[in-house]
């Protein structure tokens, strides 16, 4: 069931009315929710940004879903990166200022995993965006036409949940 939902999410995102750029921007923004620990202030702010900016929301959820396991797998790396940054003598002044500033501490930036994952996400933001945009464009151009003829694809898209989504959005294949 979970797998089916994931597939539906994927199809929904890739075939939505958004341009490949909008979908890719959604994926890149959504990846932060998967890569960094969820319950932090920066995620709340970025969620608001994702809602306000004209990016594909389906892409946001797809990015979130896809990057959750990546986040779990890379936690040791994030921890190492965060430790290096937080304990770097040259950055102590910056962290001290942020730690003692209003609101900023609610981002939990002073946790090694949170900081490490957030910094990695910032570094990966543009690569994810460009890779996703290229992949979505390739998909729509070459793969989609072949996929839609598959019985499996038709079965997935014919599911109740998918139909509901289509009827709500008025979107047609």
């Amino acid at each position: 069931m979970l797998l089916l939902k994931l597939l539906q999410q994927l199809i929904k995102a890739l075939n939505s009315e958004g341009t490949p750029g909008q979908v890719a921007a959604g994926i890149a923004l959504g990846s932060v929710f998967g890569l960094t620990p969820l319950l932090n202030l920066h995620n709340l702010v970025l969620f608001g940004v994702a809602l306000i900016l004209n990016v594909s929301l389906a892409g946001v959820f797809l990015g979130w879903t896809v990057f959750v396991p990546v986040g779990f797998a890379l936690d040791p790396l994030f921890d190492a990166v965060g430790s290096k940054l937080l304990l770097a003598p040259g950055l102590k002044g910056l962290w001290t200022a942020l730690y003692n500033a209003p609101v900023v501490p609610f981002t939990n930036f002073n946790n090694t995993v949170v900081l490490g994952s957030f910094v990695c996400w910032v570094v990966l933001l543009l690569p994810i965006f460009f890779l996703a945009r290229w992949a979505v464009a390739r998909y729509r151009e070459h793969i989609y036409e072949r996929l839609r003829k598959l019985r499996f694809f038709q079965a997935v898209t014919a599911s109740g949940w998918y139909s509901t989504y289509k009827s709500l959005t008025g979107w047609k294949l």
Binding site: L44, L98, N111, V113
Partner: protein
């Protein structure tokens, strides 16, 4: 294409509303969980809180039903509080910090029983730091060797053959010193060989011989200049050689001094070996302090171990300095990581209660019953940020029975890099506990008396006192039996029990003073008591001759085992002190001599050609 999706503002607003609603619904629960988790980590045992209620608009927080488990007795609470009312600082909350200007405490009770155990699971990470505090103090207590009051070695033939060389400290120390001496001798020889001044001495002597009584006028200007240059070069080589030798001499002297200090420890080790051997053949020291330590040592340690453990906990919970502080991150499905705090002066500390006051009552008709007033200032996790020490005071304001001065006061000053803590408790006219003196087979009931407790810490040094006085002591036999007969065999437990019983059972005034001092890691303990004095007197009268006889045998045995090894080590050290250092001094003398001769030659050369500087 539009960049913004303005129609999303409504769902965004709804989302924010949802978040605020969730925060309102769950903040009290989050505060409760946070206090429980933070308290549990600090104490190392469960901290329970029934409810927390944050009233943002009134800037207040009300905590109800706080129970802090005693980590040493998990079925008991260290203290329990019915209600805590805190006036909080809202601006500090914006920095994710908790600052309470005042805290009113209602319904404070100590040592209340728990329905369930408050012990943490053995493998709990939260329990580790507090467990480490406790085990460090317990390990110290286990390492401490308290004298015993065993007399089985008297009255019969003493088997000193059971005392083995391998169990004596001075033998091990002598062997280690001899080995160190051998290793140092080799190293010194290599250093002296590397700094060998022989080439410089030989070349200087050869130059002196070559120049002989040469007349500078016969050498001519160029010849005299060459000769002077040769002398200067050789003098420089001699000076360099002497510098090398002086460096070696300094190193050798420093190491020899350290060996001398260790050699001095041989005498102390020998005294320890005598004491050890005395214990092995079960004859006691007749020193009142040793007997006091044998009688009251366990009871004193029972009180000192938790006190020292709390000193460590205070250091951990309120560390000194402004260095970033690391602790484990929050528990979550993902990796917790490490959370680093970056304290800064003139800002809010992470947690601060500026002033707390509460009154509490101890019920019943005992001498402890009455009304109390407690006051605390500057409770914080970052004393260096707050800049003021923590102080506390609890005083009885109204007694139900008995006299009646009870006061506990203290200060924890962690504002500088050197922590300074002090705690003092004076309890007069209170019901004191009874002590089982297993070594004497007696139970001492102190009834009503005074207790003075003081503990101070400065850096890594601690000093403390536990003094108990009573003038209405009652004695009873442990196990309730009749006192042993006076004619029991000399040295038997019955004989000892009888002797001690007769010595102490008439004592009505008792005074015990246990002192602890030294490094926090391993302080020494000194216990004195008039009970120890009375027992020592009785023992001296009864067995002084016998003890001296056995002690002489024991000393002779230890000396025979230790003497050879120690003498050999001392001889080796003496040889080390004379041999290499004498070689170096001799070489330096030769260098000085040759240099003097060369300088004389140089003066001869430069003086022979007036007006000409070579």
């Amino acid at each position: 294409m539009k960049v913004f999706r303005w129609k999303a503002l409504v769902p965004l607003g709804l989302f924010v509303l949802l978040v605020v609603l969730g925060w309102t619904l769950f903040i009290d629960r989050l505060i409760r969980l946070g206090i429980e988790a933070g308290g549990t980590a600090a104490v190392g045992a469960e901290v329970d809180l029934q409810s927390a209620r944050l009233k943002l608009f009134q800037a207040s927080l009300v905590l109800k039903g706080l129970a802090v488990t005693n980590p040493r007795a998990p079925m008991t609470n260290l203290f329990e509080v019915d209600e805590l009312n805190l006036d909080i600082h809202l601006r500090a909350l914006l920095e994710k910090k908790f600052v309470a200007e005042t805290m009113a405490v209602r319904g404070l009770r100590f040592n209340t029983p728990r329905k369930t155990s408050g012990a943490l699971p053995a493998k709990s990470k939260a329990a580790e730091p507090a467990a480490a505090d406790r085990s460090a103090s317990e390990d110290w207590a286990h390492r401490l060797k308290l004298p015993s009051l065993a007399l089985q070695g008297l009255g019969g033939k003493v088997n000193v053959a059971g005392i083995g060389a391998d169990s004596l400290r001075s033998v091990a120390l002598a062997r280690s010193l001899a080995a160190r001496g051998d290793s140092m001798a080799g190293a010194w020889q290599r250093q002296i060989a590397a700094a060998d001044p022989r080439p410089a001495i030989d070349s200087g002597k050869a130059l002196v011989a070559r120049l002989g009584n040469t007349d500078v006028r016969r050498l001519g200007l160029a010849g005299a200049r060459d000769a002077a240059n040769s002398i200067r070069t050789t003098i420089n080589a001699i000076k360099a050689s002497r510098d090398r030798l002086t460096a070696v001499q300094k190193s050798v002297t420093a190491q020899a001094d350290s060996l001398k200090a260790d050699a001095a420890a041989l005498d102390r080790a020998r005294q320890d070996d005598y004491a050890y051997a005395r214990r092995q053949v079960q004859i006691p020291s007749l020193d009142p302090k040793d007997i006091s330590a044998a009688l009251f040592g366990p009871a004193a340690l029972e009180r000192m171990v938790p006190a020292l453990s709390w000193v460590r906990t205070a250091q951990r919970v309120a560390p000194t300095g402004l260095a970033p502080q690391q602790k484990a991150g929050p528990k979550r499905r993902r990796m917790a990581g490490t959370t680093v705090a970056f304290p800064k002066t003139h800002r809010y500390p992470t947690v601060l209660v500026e002033f707390a006051e509460g009154s509490f009552a101890l019920g019943g008709q005992t001498t402890m019953a009455g009304d109390y007033l407690a006051r605390l200032t500057g409770l914080t996790t970052e004393p260096a940020v707050y800049g003021k020490p923590l102080t506390f005071l609890a005083r009885r304001s109204n007694a139900v029975a008995g006299p009646h001065d009870i006061e506990v006061a203290g200060a924890l000053d962690h504002t500088t890099d050197v922590p300074r803590d002090s705690v003092r408790a004076d309890l007069a006219g209170v019901r004191l506990p009874a002590f089982d003196l297993a070594a004497a087979g007696a139970r001492m009931d102190l009834r009503t008396g005074t207790v003075h407790v003081a503990l101070s810490r400065s850096g890594d040094q601690v000093a403390g006192h536990w003094q108990v006085r009573s003038d209405s002591v009652g004695w009873s036999r442990l196990g309730g039996g009749a006192p042993p007969a006076a004619n029991a065999p000399l040295g038997s437990q019955a004989w000892l029990d009888g002797l001690v019983w007769r010595a102490v059972s008439s004592l009505k005034d008792v005074e015990v003073d246990a002192a602890v001092s030294g490094r926090l890691e391993s302080p020494s303990v000194d216990i004195s008591s008039n009970v120890g004095g009375a027992v020592a007197n009785a023992l001296r009268q009864a067995v002084a001759g016998e003890v001296s006889r056995v002690e002489a045998q024991v000393k002779a045995r230890v000396d025979s085992l230790v003497g050879g090894q120690v003498d050999a080590a001392r001889a080796k050290l003496a040889a080390l002190n004379t041999g290499p250092l004498k070689t170096i001094t001799d070489d330096q003398g030769q260098l000085d001599g040759v240099q003097a001769q060369l300088e004389q030659k140089l003066r001869g050369l430069t003086g022979g050609l007036p007006g000409i500087h070579l």
